[in-house]
Subunit: 199 residues, 2 copies
């Protein structure tokens, strides 16, 4: 860009290009689109961002994103049914909430254990998880972690550190709804075969 493009606009393009899924080129396109729709999109978007920046924080209990110290899920008495779903990230929590079938509470770890990246148990909100076992009288912990090496390492670490008497479960592995066998990896097919059910 030459010296004749405006500093404010260049600055906005550079910032927007840092979003996942956008690069310098698509960011420039997006900024042009925003300027064309100044009143319809740019101003409302700037306001919405300012609002979220002012209000968003982590729930002190579960790590979900919230606008209060305790998120609506943790504040909802009806969801304190003793089931606790452990997820890696807020995006996983949102994904499970979209499915709408889980009625308990969550615990967001904020990552997975990783020797390579130097992520240990204390970086992950695992101590808080252990604390919640007693204070919320949890009877089942559902480990909804990714089926990756790091995810499974984390799951095993949590299994070893939870008090006895708590039921530990993990998400079922198998064929996704609508999935075609032809396109599935061998690991998934093996897991689905091993967990086959009588019909």
């Amino acid at each position: 860009m030459s010296q004749n493009t405006l500093a404010e606009i260049e600055h906005l393009i550079a910032l927007l290009a840092k979003l996942p899924g956008l690069g310098p080129r698509s960011s420039r396109r997006a900024v042009l689109h925003l300027i064309r729709k100044k009143d319809l999109l740019l101003t409302p978007l700037a306001n919405a961002m300012q609002e979220v920046a002012a209000s968003a924080r982590s729930c002190l209990n579960c790590g979900n994103i919230s606008t209060s110290d305790i998120c609506p899920i943790c504040a909802d008495e009806a969801r304190g049914n003793g089931e606790l779903c452990v997820v890696e990230d807020v995006s996983d929590l949102w994904a499970i909430e979209r499915a709408g079938s889980f009625k308990g509470r969550y615990h967001v770890l904020g990552g997975t254990l990783s020797a390579l990246d130097g992520v240990g148990p204390d970086d992950l909100r695992i101590p808080q998880l252990v604390d919640r076992m007693a204070s919320e009288s949890v009877h089942e912990v559902i480990l909804a972690l990714d089926a990756t090496i790091d995810g499974q390492t984390t799951a095993h670490y949590i299994m070893d550190h939870l008090p006895s008497g708590v039921t530990l479960t993990s998400l079922a592995q198998g064929v996704p709804i609508g999935g075609e066998l032809d396109y599935l990896d061998e690991g998934t097919i093996t897991a689905a075969l091993n967990s086959r059910k009588a019909v």
Copy 2:
């Protein structure tokens, strides 16, 4: 998304999803990323958007995006060299500015003539272009319009309506730098052959 996700965040996701290149899924991912980097990215981005929303406007002379009534290119006496490059859109102007080789001024039409979409000459800043011929003593008009039907229709309309005595040129057509013949369409190869040069 369930009732437990927060209204402000949902609102931001919905707005961001309207950007070209982003959809509901990538917008959600981007918003999570923004919230995680609240001080480093979300707040600066909101401020940058507010600044651009407050300052961006169209240059009254050429249609470029500017923060003043007359954009830096039109305000620059050195660029009033009598060459005027006609482009469809501000993004085209930016692309030519990035190349850095054009030293004249621009005229942004704001679209192309289109019978299908009901876009006529008066919707396009063509009258302003004709006015500029005299006031800026333009001696060459470079038509840098897309090589599409609508772009070429617009080019022909402009050719018919400019005062005589003005040199009209258009961008050369041929093989792009670094382009491989194997991947080029027949039209480009034909144009490049027809405009072949002695070496």
